[in-house]
């Protein structure tokens, strides 16, 4: 097997797990959103790297070009990026509301505040 082989998938897995780790291990809500973004970008890289064909060019029609990279994943990811930003905006709006309601954006402090309210 030549060098790139499956290397692109491994990069994707490492990135994805980094994002996953941030989401589950960090208590700060803004950082969790950043982690989700990293996770998302890893999926985008996965799709885009699958669409690449060796020796192909960008999918813009022109004379004398035989091999084009697969355009379909590009379209899907174009949509996904924009949707991703929309969900990020919604998540950040929720963070702002949580900060208004609890005065903090740390997960543990919110949990403590809720326990105090119950007792």
């Amino acid at each position: 097997m030549e060098f790139p082989g499956l290397f692109n998938y491994w990069i994707v897995v490492v990135l994805m797990m980094t994002g996953f780790y941030i989401v589950i291990a960090q208590g700060n809500l803004v950082k969790k959103v950043v982690g989700l973004n990293i996770f998302q970008v890893s999926v985008f890289v996965f799709y885009i790297s699958m669409s690449k064909i060796r020796g192909g060019t960008a999918p813009i029609l022109d004379e004398g070009i035989e091999i084009y990279t697969n355009p379909l994943p590009h379209v899907l990811i174009l949509t996904a990026i924009v949707v991703g930003v929309a969900t990020t905006a919604l998540a950040l709006a929720l963070v702002v509301r949580i900060r208004d309601a609890y005065g903090t954006i740390e997960e543990e402090e919110i949990g403590q505040l809720e326990q105090e309210e119950e007792t």
Binding site: P4, S51, L72
Partner: protein, 175 residues
């Protein structure tokens, strides 16, 4: 890019985290250019590195910018993450190698798009014709999602005493 991601895990200052995530997006855009996905790179640079960063900075302005957390050693998350990563890498062993023209993804509808879109739709950019014509419903759904998100942001931030300040942040989602 991976180094940037790792730095993101360690940093405590949220301002630096947001800036690094912008850099991360730009690096991703560069990677897309290398992988021939120029349209995706445009979008990532403009939307991912631009608008998302502005939104996060707006959130930081409305909340705090310092992470207050006890430096604990989270063993369980690390374990879960390593396990999942190992499983995923095991899964990639069956994937077609990078750049392989005989991979199944290149033999379904993509050849038809490449051959016919020039005469059927028109624009030389195949991504444009697929996005606007063949998969127009996807784009319609995308617009619906953005609209829903914008409405949600406006509802969440609209009321209350600091409404005017927040509307400004919410307005940026429309772009």
């Amino acid at each position: 890019m991976t180094v940037t991601a790792f730095a993101l895990v360690r940093l405590r200052n949220l301002f630096a985290v947001v800036m690094l995530s912008g850099i991360f997006s730009l690096l991703a855009a560069v990677l897309y250019v290398v992988l021939d996905a120029v349209d995706v790179a445009f979008t990532e640079a403009a939307v991912g590195a631009g608008i998302a960063t502005v939104l996060m900075l707006g959130t930081l302005a409305l909340t705090t910018s310092v992470v207050k957390e006890a430096p604990q050693k989270p063993i369980a998350p690390l374990l879960i993450v390593s396990l999942t990563g190992a499983l995923l890498i095991f899964g990639t062993l069956d994937m077609p190698p990078y750049g392989d023209p005989s991979a199944p993804i290149h033999h379904h509808v993509a050849p038809r798009y490449i051959e016919k879109s020039g005469s059927e739709v028109g624009p030389p950019n195949i991504v444009t014709s697929v996005l606007a014509s063949y998969r127009g419903y996807d784009t319609l759904g995308e617009v619906t999602v953005i609209f829903t998100a914008a409405v949600g942001v406006l509802i969440l931030l609209g009321g209350g005493r600091r409404s005017r300040k927040k509307r400004r942040t919410a307005g940026k989602t429309g772009g």
